[in-house]
Symmetry: C3
């Protein structure tokens, strides 16, 4: 059972790193979550990991930001194979804020087949199941620069700060 | 401490399986999350596990779908007894999409007493605390069939796919 | 690796207890999540732990309630130091329900430096990064008293119920 706990934690972290990669435009991190021959089934994309990341690389920078908030993460492990289901909501925003094609929230589930190869768990196949999509109301506001810690989509985001005090 | 980690993981999985059961209309799975003499306190229901599942069995199929997204899951274990608090939002949709009694989101907490009997953790008593309810805006859209991986409320959902490649 | 699992669980529970403390107005619990010399960077506040809790103590009772729902919790441990990133949405409500300064939801990330001192993990430095803020639609309703298990912001909330049956 202890070994399984470790597996489940490692698998959960694959999904968590995927979300961080997407939201911070760290495409290398996104790519590292997939095996080389992995398949991804998304609304608007169906193909391999390199193709998926290339698609994201074109799509995501058009938006001003995204936030992939995930909750339920239920993993079943069978040796070097696992299935995980993750629930989440994805928040998207862009300019102009009134454009519904860039300002929406979707509810989704990632249904993943995970495989451990050479000791490392990665996605072998993903079904990104979309449950619903909702326009974001026009009164949504983004934080103003300097108003408080603000998010960035590059290495200047607080999550990349040095965490060893000098 | 390690034993506690296993307990906490098992308890979390009870809550996760409950959500899957509700959202996929797998009532057997929902029922298996409760001990036979368990009590459930819900808005609109107060009684035992069989009664609760019977109530759900009548109620849920009227909707087109639900999504019980959970986050915070804080578990305190004391031998074979545990208390867990789970935060979540429940998304409900149904036809017509303009009917607010079928199209709403609620914020809730599950406050559970869990008991381990014969080595298996299940809910002994649940308080489903509702924090707020909000109508879903009419511009919410459901994915069109064939537009991408789409959710199902039966065994044809991707989460039940064979995950062993032949 | 097992030791790391325990560390990650303990760190996650710091963040979970923080949320419970804020939502139940248990300021002692909130304070216990920080080291004495911890620094908190929030929108509207920047300073030490005592100052932060004093600020919350003034601010939170003006609202009728809050719900800090967290999801993604990615922790990296390095000895007695760790970095954790937590995603969440914070729901706020107050009277009158049409006042947008009291009725809003925000998307945020907590970017924390955690330190273990005397065997206990606590926050050493927090950046509360706000991603977006959104008014809550006026049709949000709170549960009526007696309609079902209802939330409280004191020790009468179900989460504090005795969980040992007599």
């Amino acid at each position: 059972m202890d070994a399984r706990l470790v597996d489940k934690q490692e698998i959960a972290e694959v999904v968590l790193r995927y979300c961080r990669g997407v939201d911070r435009l760290d495409f290398e991190l996104v790519r590292s979550c997939y095996h080389d021959d992995a398949i991804d089934h998304h609304t608007g994309f169906d193909g391999d990991a390199d193709g998926y990341v290339a698609w994201l690389t074109t799509l995501l920078p058009r938006l001003s930001g995204t936030m992939h908030l995930i909750g339920n993460l239920l993993v079943e492990v069978d040796g070097d194979l696992a299935r995980s289901e993750t629930y989440g909501t994805a928040h998207h925003w862009g300019n102009p804020l009134t454009d519904p094609s860039m300002n929406f929230t979707s509810g989704f589930r990632y249904v993943d087949t995970m495989e451990r190869r050479d000791g490392v768990w990665r996605i072998a196949e993903r079904w990104a199941v979309r449950e619903w999509t909702r326009s974001i109301p026009a009164d949504t506001v983004r934080p103003k620069e300097g108003e408080g810690p603000s998010p960035q989509r590059d290495r200047s985001d607080p999550v990349y700060r040095a965490w060893r005090q000098p």
